[in-house]
């Protein structure tokens, strides 16, 4: 099967990510990472899915397939949510936008790379099963998506858009133009910095990309930036096959509204009542080395207690960091653990999954 390609051809090293051939590194991960933390960088994230849901029952359909309370969204507002199965296991995580200035309720949600077709089918199948009146459209290859992230992003993007960025709050979306091209502009991101995400028509993506005069960044820096914040990566920090986790284990209980009716609610109410047995935690290595996905975590007696799902050398801290699942008693306070790196136990300690001061 051939890889899907983004709308802009980039001069960068690429990788297969969720079935897409995406830029992983333009210059160096460190250079790109620092640009975002200190100034501003742009990412082509057109591999992210876009699915719109409209019609009289659009809100009800979203409410019943996402863990958060979609009914509280006013036009122009967005929320983070998980998509769970009957067992409460996360299939994906997403941002749900209620689009601004629509005559009827229209929602847009953003599945992760390679999940758009599966989520489209899931929405359509449940619409049929529940006999709801909603139009579901997979627009993944109609919208290009660019993230403009970093402390200088308001100036950089502000020079190219008619959207009044200072009046846009976090988790809000509005329509306008970027570089003269019709766009949806949202105050959202995956880096922990102030930043925006812009959705523009696929055919005009090049015009917008070229007009954003700043450091281009690849998926490598996107990954190190999100790891420093302790943000989950779908398919790696949770995955229905390889790493089945519920939202409480994964540390996103804030995105679960048990007062709403959704697939997985009953199972999650049980988890919430008893508390998860394992939790998503951060670890900091005290010795030299680099924590990585899949590495075993041991207690100080050398017994296996869990494993890492992500890890890297933090470019901002210059120190090795990791994320993974450990028994719940290891979350919340700093505990000594060992990380097994090439059969050598290395000293480490747990932290909350967010590493920057």
């Amino acid at each position: 099967m051939s890889l899907r390609t983004p709308p802009v051809s980039h001069d960068a090293e690429t990788t297969d990510f969720g079935g897409w051939e995406m830029p992983v590194e333009f210059d160096s991960i460190r250079t790109e990472h620092e640009a975002v933390r200190e100034r501003v960088g742009k990412f082509d994230v057109s591999h992210m899915g876009e699915i719109t849901v409209s019609g009289p029952d659009a809100g009800r359909l979203l409410q019943r397939l996402t863990t958060n309370d979609a009914s509280v969204l006013d036009p122009g507002e967005a929320q983070y949510a998980a998509i769970t199965d009957e067992r409460g296991v996360m299939l994906d995580d997403t941002i749900v936008y209620r689009l601004p200035e629509e005559d009827d309720e229209t929602y847009l949600f953003i599945p992760n790379a390679g999940h758009d077709e599966e989520m489209f089918d899931r929405w359509v199948n449940h619409r049929e099963e529940w006999e709801l009146d909603a139009t579901v459209t997979n627009r993944t290859e109609e919208y290009a998506m660019f993230a403009i992230q970093g402390p200088d992003s308001p100036d950089l993007l502000g020079a190219q858009t008619d959207v009044d960025l200072p009046t846009l709050s976090r988790m809000e979306v509005t329509s306008g133009t970027v570089a003269g091209v019709d766009a949806l502009v949202a105050y959202t991101g995956y880096t922990g910095e102030q930043g925006y995400e812009a959705l523009v028509p696929w055919e005009e993506a090049g015009t917008v990309w070229d007009a954003l005069d700043c450091q281009p960044c690849g998926l490598g820096a996107r990954d190190t930036l999100r790891m420093e914040m302790g943000f989950l990566l779908s398919g790696q920090d949770f995955d229905p096959e390889e790493e089945p986790r519920n939202p409480f284990e994964a540390g996103i209980g804030f995105a679960v509204e048990l007062d709403t009716e959704f697939v997985g609610r009953a199972a999650l109410a049980g988890v919430d009542a008893e508390g998860p047995e394992e939790k998503f935690v951060g670890v900091r290595l005290e010795e030299r080395g680099v924590p990585r996905h899949g590495y075993e975590v041991q207690n100080t007696d050398g017994e296996r207690i869990g494993h890492l799902t992500s890890g890297t050398m933090s470019p901002t801290l210059g120190e090795p960091i990791g994320l993974g699942y450990l028994p719940a008693e290891y979350a919340g306070e700093e505990r000594s653990v060992r990380i097994l790196i090439r059969d050598e136990p290395k000293k480490a300690h747990t932290t909350t999954p967010g590493f920057l001061p």
């Binding site: 160096s28 991960i29 460190r30 490598g220 190190t224 080395g289 680099v290 990585r292 050398m313 470019p315």
Partner: protein, 127 residues
């Protein structure tokens, strides 16, 4: 993109270089290899006195995005390891054939050097 491939080195297909200086063989990774790896953040090297075997892994190099074994171009005994790389692993990116060297080996059998790739052969491999 054109990568530096010095004429005074021989090469392994796995992107290590070997340079003979006064009877010892200095070893490192090539310009191409450091570029493929990206920002090098950690290097694990053997100790002086350890034995290494031709085409056997003698160490590990980690960049932000990848972990990779490093292979010995010749068999012999390690006579020096570049300890500067412990605190400054980025030297591998900045100067792969100079300050970014990794180990020096007292070779067991110098004829092994002749089976390594010439600069021309290595250039053909990566282009």
């Amino acid at each position: 993109m054109s990568f530096e491939i010095p004429d005074d080195c021989r090469y392994l297909e796995s992107h290590e270089w070997a340079r003979t200086e006064n009877g010892t063989v200095r070893v490192g990774i090539t310009d191409f290899a450091q570029d493929e790896l990206g920002d090098v953040v950690f290097v694990e090297l053997p100790e002086v006195g350890d034995a290494v075997g031709m085409e056997d892994a003698f160490g590990v190099i980690e960049s932000i995005k990848a972990v990779s074994d490093i292979y010995a171009p010749v068999s012999g005994t390690v006579t020096a390891a570049n300890e500067t790389l412990i605190d400054e692993p980025e030297l591998v990116n900045e100067d792969p054939y100079g300050e970014g060297w990794m180990i020096e080996v007292d070779p067991e059998d110098e004829s092994e050097l002749h089976v390594l790739l010439t600069p021309e052969e290595y250039r053909e491999q990566i282009e």
